[in-house]
Amino acid sequence: MKLKALIPLALFGLLALLLARGLQLNPREIPSPLIDKPAPTFELAALHEGKPALKRADLQGRVTLLNVWASWCTPCQQEHPLLVDFAKRQPGVQLIGLNYKDQREAASAWLRRLGDPYHAIGFDERGQIGIEFGVYGVPETFIIDRQGRIRFKHVGPLTAELMRERIEPLLTQL
């Protein structure tokens, strides 16, 4: 037996270990330490120049659905029609976008193409506010109640089922 011939086997062993570890992780479910805590304080420039900055105070007094997205993210494109549809059906809920590690032009073009359901969009160019919110990746969606506390967090794209069965019932309660 030659040592060289063992290389593929060794590489595969490493890969198998990695995959076994990956199985124990769930890409969708990440407990957020922020649940039922007040949303962090922040102030962000608006994505569209000329609009007022987005502040923590904007979250007070209304139920808010905060959606973290970026134009370079494929799953965001997948969930986007649901948000557009949601904004039409539930105008009472404040839908806020957090544009994460993106470029202004690309993000605006993306919204022109797919529709802009957001009442306001914060532009988090370097992802700093994302860190405050404990954002792991995009897309993520938070529900924040009238008192400004985070009540729900979802990692990964929204689905019609999730909207119908978890998010909308929770929103009507708040």
Binding site: A5, A16, L23, G137, P157
Partner: protein, 675 residues
């Protein structure tokens, strides 16, 4: 009763697969002809029981049997018949059943064509494939039973995912699986060869090659269909997204491409023996890995199937047994295979070697990008998403040298070529490439093509010119033979290779020009308004409500004209499927050789009767899929190559003399005619 029959047939098939995996290979090992002879009836029985089970599930769909949980989840009383039949593979459990059906289908075909294959080899090959089907059937029966009953029976099913209710999507999975599973044939031959290294490697290769070509062609078509579907169904005009699941199908394709070429060298020249074996193992392993990535839910992706940790664990175990076992066998036995014939630096072998290494490197880069988020998550808990920027910047530079060598390879001779002659051949091709790419680029783009686009066109021109140069030299009348006689003497294998290579050239033209010249406009249009894009006037005439069998929606009528003359009428739709309330965009496309006109409806603007309409003009985009089709045709031609059958008959009669088998081949596929 019918679903229970299907369930029972699956268990029966499991037993037959276990017997097939054990008895005939054991017979081959102990030289017991009676045990080896069991392979044929066991294989037949396995095929029939899996087919019966598949038909039972189809029947449950056709009959709206919502008491079967899988049927209730993936169909609905409004779903048209064609989609009910296709819904069998619309979810996890059923697509596994399709996987199993295709696997036993390949085994049946293999047995039918076996003819004069040595019984010991056939017993081992069918045994390996029997073991694979055992694993898949066990997976299905223990974690993903498609026949599970649902009590009490629901009134109505949940419906097939609307994204899948489309002709392109109906054909995409079977073609893709056909390719994945087809690589199992080469894999089984490789394992059989490793189990019995005294057997003649070149002989099994000549057997496995057409099957590999067929599998590769199916995979090519499958990937192309998926990309075409994404283009017209997702409504934003892209055709490839480097999504983990796309990558999962692309990696076996890259490895399979390397395998096809390596097989050619081993068969004709006896070189690259261990390489070929390793690639055969790798191509199928990557197919399995792809299945794991899609089914286990370790990666989140657009395609995400239902995830269940038990399933992931099972596939991982299966993966470890199959891939780990075969790589272990490879490590133990490969050294005995020998190095094979030597070759000079300036030879066709060198270019093929270079290309195989580069293809594998590209495959590794895709694997790295696909798994990096997972690795980072496992090691640090960070979650990220690796996007197109990584793949574009890594993949393109790796493939460019492959494309250059791809043109040179066929112009080189096997074993050793001479520099001056090569330079003479390449000079002609280079001149032709420059001329064609230059004229073409100027004609379609004028002065506005970017440097990257010129580079792409130059590569495409080079590939096509090399194909042309090779064909001209092979067909040029000489020594009293006219053009027609030369054409008739042209080996099919050369034709299939040139067809596939030309396909790559056409593909590059499409990718380059659509990236460089496409015009995309998103505009708000009310009925009666229009917009001009790239010289075409798009006029939104009206919007009207439509009702389909299981959806409602809005259809726009867009009249396209150029210089006052009508070009076409397009009818983009926005559908909402009643059962799932899922909005779907149906783009309207006027496809053409030189450009596609693409219109899709975005969203209605609040407070007016206007809609956001996406209007795209995409030059040459159809060349992408035409290129893929040409490649697949090349693969199919190689599969139908009669030479293999003749050659096998001859060589088994001649009982593999010491002389390299390639010299026994008619038609001089060996290399170029002596000048």
């Amino acid at each position: 009763m019918i679903p229970e029959l299907g369930h029972f047939a699956l268990w029966f098939a499991l037993g037959l697969a276990a017997l097939l995996a054990v008895l005939p290979p054991l017979g081959a090992h102990r030289r017991r002809a009676d045990w080896m002879a069991l392979a044929a009836p066991l294989n037949k029985g396995l095929g029939l029981t899996v087919l019966l089970s598949y038909l039972c599930l189809t029947w449950a769909f056709v009959q709206f049997d919502f008491s079967v949980a899988y049927v209730a989840r993936h169909s609905n009383s409004e779903l048209p018949l064609a989609y009910r039949i296709a819904a069998v593979w619309g979810g996890h459990e059923g697509s596994l059943l399709l996987w199993a059906l295709l696997l036993v289908g390949w085994m049946g075909a293999l047995q039918r064509k076996a003819g004069n294959l040595p019984p010991a080899l056939l017993a081992r090959v069918l045994g390996v494939m029997g073991a694979l089907s055992f694993g898949f059937l066990l997976f299905m029966l223990t974690t993903s039973n498609p026949f599970e009953r649902l009590l009490p029976m629901p009134e109505e099913g949940a419906d097939l995912n609307p994204l899948l209710q489309d002709p392109g999507m109906v054909l995409h999975p079977p073609m893709l699986y056909m390719g994945y599973v087809g690589f199992a044939v080469a894999f089984a031959f490789a394992i059989a060869a490793l189990l019995a290294p005294e057997d003649d490697l070149q002989r099994w290769l000549r057997w496995a090659r057409p099957w590999t070509a067929a599998a590769w062609a199916s995979l090519t078509v499958g990937i192309a269909l998926g990309s075409w579907w994404a283009y017209y169904e997702l409504g934003w005009g892209g055709w490839w997204f480097w999504d983990p699941v796309e990558n999962a199908s692309f990696m076996p394709w890259l490895a399979g491409t390397a395998l096809l070429h390596s097989m050619a060298v081993t068969e004709k020249r006896g070189a690259f023996r261990s390489w070929t074996l390793l690639l055969a193992i790798l191509a199928f392993s990557l197919s399995l890995l792809g299945t794991f990535l899609v089914r286990s839910g370790v990666l989140s992706s657009v395609h995400a199937f239902a995830t269940d940790p038990k399933r992931g664990l099972f596939i991982l175990g299966f993966l470890v047994v199959v891939v780990g076992g075969s790589l272990g066998l490879f490590a133990a036995r490969a050294a005995r295979m020998g190095l094979g014939a030597r070759f000079g630096l300036l030879s066709r072998e060198t270019t093929l070697m270079g290309n195989n290494v580069m293809l594998l490197a590209a495959c590794g880069a895709v694997l790295l990008g696909t798994l990096y988020p997972l690795a980072l998550d496992a090691l640090t808990g960070q979650k990220i998403s690796v996007g197109p920027p990584y793949f574009d910047s890594v993949f393109v530079p790796l493939m460019a040298p492959v494309i250059v060598l791809m043109g040179v390879g066929p112009l080189l001779r096997w074993k050793q070529d001479e520099g001056p002659q090569l330079v003479r051949r390449l000079r002609g091709a280079a001149l032709l490439a420059a001329l064609v790419a230059g004229t073409f680029g100027w004609a379609v783009g004028g002065g506005q093509l970017s440097a990257a686009a010129w580079f792409g066109l130059a590569l495409a021109g080079w590939v096509l010119a090399c194909c042309a140069a090779d064909l001209v030299e092979r067909l040029w009348p000489r020594q009293g033979q006219g053009l027609i006689a030369r054409w008739q003497a042209l080996p099919r294998s050369v034709l299939s290779m040139q067809l596939a290579h030309a396909g790559v050239g056409v593909f590059i033209v499409g990718v380059t020009l659509v990236n460089s010249l496409q015009v995309e406009r998103d505009v708000a249009l009310a009925p009666g308004q229009g917009v001009e894009v790239a010289g075409f006037e798009f006029q939104l005439e009206r919007l009207q409500r439509i009702e389909g069998p299981n959806y409602g929606g809005v259809q726009g009528l867009v009249r396209v004209s150029r210089g006052g003359e009508q070009v076409t009428e397009l009818r983009p739709e926005k559908r909402v499927y009643r059962s799932s309330e899922m909005p779907m965009t149906e783009a309207a496309i006027d496809a053409g050789l030189l450009r596609d006109l693409y219109v899709s409806l975005g969203e209605p603007l609040a407070g007016s009767n206007a809609w956001i309409v996406r209007v795209y003009v995409k030059p040459f985009i159809d060349w992408i899929w035409m290129g893929c089709l040409l490649m697949a045709c090349g693969g199919l031609l190689a599969w139908r190559d009669k030479r293999y059958r003749v050659a096998v008959a001859q060589s088994s009669a001649a009982k593999a003399l010491a002389a390299p088998a390639a010299q026994a081949l008619p038609g001089g596929a060996q290399g170029r005619a002596a000048p």
